[in-house]
Amino acid sequence: MSLDPATVRRIARLARIGIDESDLPALQRELNGILGWIEQLNEVDVDNVEPMVGTGHAALRMREDVVTDGDAREAVLSNAPDAAGPYYTVPKVVE
């Protein structure tokens, strides 16, 4: 499977990473190089094999449904690049 420029543009759009038209040839070449190399997995018979989603050593734990954290508004906002009072800011999204 080989990526065409339109697909590279589409992936970049999905990932919300801006790219210039001039980036496309190199990106396309590198991504296709990696994809070509991982094609080797197609020779593995994975019929009836369960996917591994984690090492499975930790069981999910239950706890009391109580607040364990919070009251840290200043700390939470301390690294916001453009906070306004107790809010994050974004460009206008609703016309």
Partner: protein, 495 residues
Amino acid sequence: MMLTELTIAAAHEGLRRRDFSAEELVGAHLAAIDRLNGRLNAFITVTPEQALAAARRADAILAGGEEAPVLTGIPLGIKDLFCTDGVRTTAASRMLEEFVPPYESTVTANLLADGAVFVGKTNLDEFAMGSANITSVFGAVENPWKRAGDAETVLVPGGSSGGSAAAVAARLAMGATGTDTGGSIRQPASYCGIAGIKPTYGRCSRWGTIAFASSLDQAGPMARTVEDCAILLESMAGFDTRDSTSVDIAVPDYRAACGRSLKGMKVGIPAEYRVAGMPAEIEAAWEQGIAWLREAGCEIVEVSLPYTRYGLATYYIVAPAECSSNLARYDGVRFGRRVPGATLDELYEATRREGFGAEVRRRILMGTYVLSAGYYDAYYLRAQKVRNLIRKDFESAFRTVDVLLTPTAPSPAFAQGEKMDDPVQMYLNDVFTVPASMAGVPAMSVPAGLSASGLPLGLQVIGRSFDEESVFAAASALERAAGFTHRPAVRAEVV
């Protein structure tokens, strides 16, 4: 006495006897950083005032006559991927260039509770993605080792924990934290002639460690001896309710395990690790390691891990997929760099284009692709299935043997500029380390000798899940047999 030459174990004894103070010990390392960091670039941030203040507190504890924890007053480097309260934490990325965490990671909090002194934050590949420590926005790290007869060529320290490895090898810190997703502790340890262990997945809490690939990321220690790694891991490890993958089992006495007899231990030699084109000196180091373990009383057993040959290709689907998901949080809104845009999407796209370097962008794009509608089954789901087969390979081998012995890396450290044109060539550095990461089992690199070019070569000991003790025992035996006393050309006491 050259304070920067001591091991952590020896420094602890010296501090207890008051042969020297923690302030002197930390001061000696800060002076070495001052002299060498401009060249090696092992630290992104150095915190001399905090370190000296912490050293004075350690001295007060040591003077108090009570039993001081073993890390009291010991100067450590912290990979700049661990959040440190009030100290800038960058992940070596432009995205987090100004990020100051308002909290402490569990692993570093554990070390601080045991009295450790942090001298600074060590350099790494951006977001821990790389095998040569060349993708840091703060510049590449120089390996303190030099090829014999070639003082000029700058070698890479390996990656991604390259700053930690270089700092420890050059005696700028007595030990350091690393993180290992596909080999990021073990490969740089091998390239820099030190020891480093990736413990079992779930052994060290991931809370407060900047995420790359969550099903693989594990913190671990790097130090100049196996025993020092054992001391550090015992402090770093432990159950943490804030990490849902943290495993609630007791942390054993790793230091005691270093002295265990190997009589009757079964050591597996995986046939599949004899890859085509492996340099003769790597093969020879491996054979030597096998002989050493046999002399130590081990039984050597040939084993087969048929699916490990797919480890690297599987890794380069699973890790980018998880990376693309994890790094979605860098949106230019809540924290980190922000590049303005007229619309929210333009803000995202401009921020993420400028905030991430080329390798990180490449992995996010690859991950986005393998997770996208229509390709998920063909790539991601298939990779998860192959990963299961790799894990089963290890499980079946560990029904017969106690540990596995392999080389850590397919070559000694290479020069800056080599292997940089083709991402796949760079990825191949991790061919021996990635399978253990995929399976989640513990693995350690220990220096075994020098290459013909005078550079360190590491051997890797892989163990059963949660049996770091056998790994420490075998690695200690290799360390004793190797008697590795070589030191890098660039180090604290060389002016």
